[in-house]
Symmetry: C2
Subunit: 419 residues, 2 copies
Amino acid sequence: MSIEIITIGDELLIGQVTDTNSAWMSRQLTAVMMPIVQHTSIHDDAEQIKKAVNAALERADVVLLTGGLGPTKDDITKHTLCEIFSTRLVHSQEVEDNINRLWYQRNRKVINPLTATQALVPENCEVIQNEVGTAPIMLWEWDNDDKKKILISMPGVPYEMQYAITNHVIPRLQQEFPNETIALHHTTIVEGIPESALALQLEQWETSLPDYMHLAYLPAQGLVRLRLDAVSKQYSQDELRQQLDQQVTQLTDILGDAIIAQEDDALEVVLGKILKSKGQTIATAESCTGGTIASLLAKHAGSSEFYLGSVVSYSNEVKHNVLGVSLSDLEQYGAVSEPVVRQMAEGARRVVGADWALATSGIAGPGGGTADKPVGTIWIAVSGPDGTTAKCLHLGTLREQNILRTTQSILAMAIRMIR
Amino acid sequence: MSIEIITIGDELLIGQVTDTNSAWMSRQLTAVMMPIVQHTSIHDDAEQIKKAVNAALERADVVLLTGGLGPTKDDITKHTLCEIFSTRLVHSQEVEDNINRLWYQRNRKVINPLTATQALVPENCEVIQNEVGTAPIMLWEWDNDDKKKILISMPGVPYEMQYAITNHVIPRLQQEFPNETIALHHTTIVEGIPESALALQLEQWETSLPDYMHLAYLPAQGLVRLRLDAVSKQYSQDELRQQLDQQVTQLTDILGDAIIAQEDDALEVVLGKILKSKGQTIATAESCTGGTIASLLAKHAGSSEFYLGSVVSYSNEVKHNVLGVSLSDLEQYGAVSEPVVRQMAEGARRVVGADWALATSGIAGPGGGTADKPVGTIWIAVSGPDGTTAKCLHLGTLREQNILRTTQSILAMAIRMIR
């Protein structure tokens, strides 16, 4: 079986909203071995929706739509689906009850007439209740030349779509399309080797891979994620897993210390797991990264087990008053210097009372550079039970890129030191 | 003229990477009045690339491709373009010189053989130098039934693509397709009214809009962005601007205090502009948001003019030791309480030495809730020269959603108070 995703909304095509739904859905569906053929984003336009749906149905067995189900004028997906499936809107008491229940929970007792229109559904679709929002989920299932086809339309609000995929769409598709093909993936994260050098180093091994295995290179922010895919109808899941593991062992032997992690997790998740396994804690002192490392450490559930807190010392006063950085060092060496970043890390470790602390101080740009310290000069330090290590990064001139790259570099440095 | 964007890469279809390129390009192109018809993401697969390119060329005048130009085996875009345009790869000395220059800058003197293959380009394309990366940009221009068609292939690395769009693609397209249609947009950000209630409130005004104007509703994280589009060949840019401004004035009269901003900026940018205009500064004390507000305030160039620093007090020790929150209040009322969030805000204002401070303390979930304080119970406070205001949010059970929603709520609260 194969799936296509169509996201609907003018806001996507003018770039006001980034389509994060397609990637999220693809991740979930790939994990249960349902391959995605294509993502398409189109306008709230009936003709365009019809053409995109028909084209997708030619390529895939299942078409998933999100967006255009709101109660306002610009939302036309439901009406267009009625045209596609030659039907009309009818009132659903079940949907109205669901909407009333949600509005009652949210402390508004009487729903307004526009929200009430959400209870109108296409007569020939199968309605799936949306337990977390007012727009119902609509499903059509039919046969085309003895091939089963399914179309599902969901709201574009990410958490409503996510709830629908997890609780309704995946279970239903698993039931409708029992698996034949096995697809397994393994990701190895490498730091410190550029993509092309890595490819040369791996050339011989990569060429020797069986034809049902494939290596993909995903470079980003100074890291390369190597994803090894194994797709087969011939082997059982256990057999394929074993073969994949053997290849990963060979890959690991070739790359050695350049490997940061053997999982497709964000680096802060990798670091969090290491800290949890050791029962240790961490803090950050951030200047140029401005709390980005803190927000990543705090983002995931359970982070309070290892993450205690941070000081974002954007001004020199905070560096001195809160973190205890020496005023004379700030004056003599400047805020972007080895002595200052070391004292920031040590100060955060002391003030927050953590086993480890990460510190950053640099010129993220676009302004603020000098001949001595051009934009992209960034000091990072990791302080721990055995002392403090600092290093200087020489990055580019793009602010956002510099912040992201610094964050990944210091997380990689911490993983190496703490592990 | 019209444009389609095709992003190429298996990583997009398995959801390992979210396609942010399409939204970024669409934003830049829309700003110069070049409308985008469709976004398509496809695999590194020659047949699929050919079909997608042909379909896009039927709908649009210009097709922009990103991705699949790396030096490794999984990158096949360049070879496929040779098939589409019936040509072969030839060596370009100009591209090789550019690659050598970049590698010299990055302190690696001899390029490796794989990177050297980046200097091979399709014989019949126009090569545009990529000043920030090793993969060249390729352009084809031809006539199809007297209609001009252009295809441009760019690297998928976001900052390389961004450099190409800004410095090469937009200037070239402006030259090739002088503007006929004028398209203007205005965004008004509204807080505190659900989308459907807003639509009812605006119904009469919205119905009276001329047919070349259109209102779109973009709800997200407790805000609704109302985007008013005006698209016309009939009026000059000045005339259309004047008409749009008149409609915005009417909209503003209807919505009054519910309006947070009259620009399509992130709320932290709106807040930053207000602070800069007043010459005032801000700090944050964050518990459940874990540095997210700090990282947003620090994200944009020039933020050091108004943003001084933050304390992320994830643990109670940091709340007490660094921010001076009373231990007895922490014990009596708990960390998620009005007295604690007020003391956090006041402590951050004092410790950082800022005019204003924002504080958050809540149960983001998924764990940690009690009968008294279920997951989603979040206290926020804004402290300023005239005292401190606190309020309690009652959000849902999704951690990431709660962090984002809290961040938007407190930024909106600060904008209202400081303005």
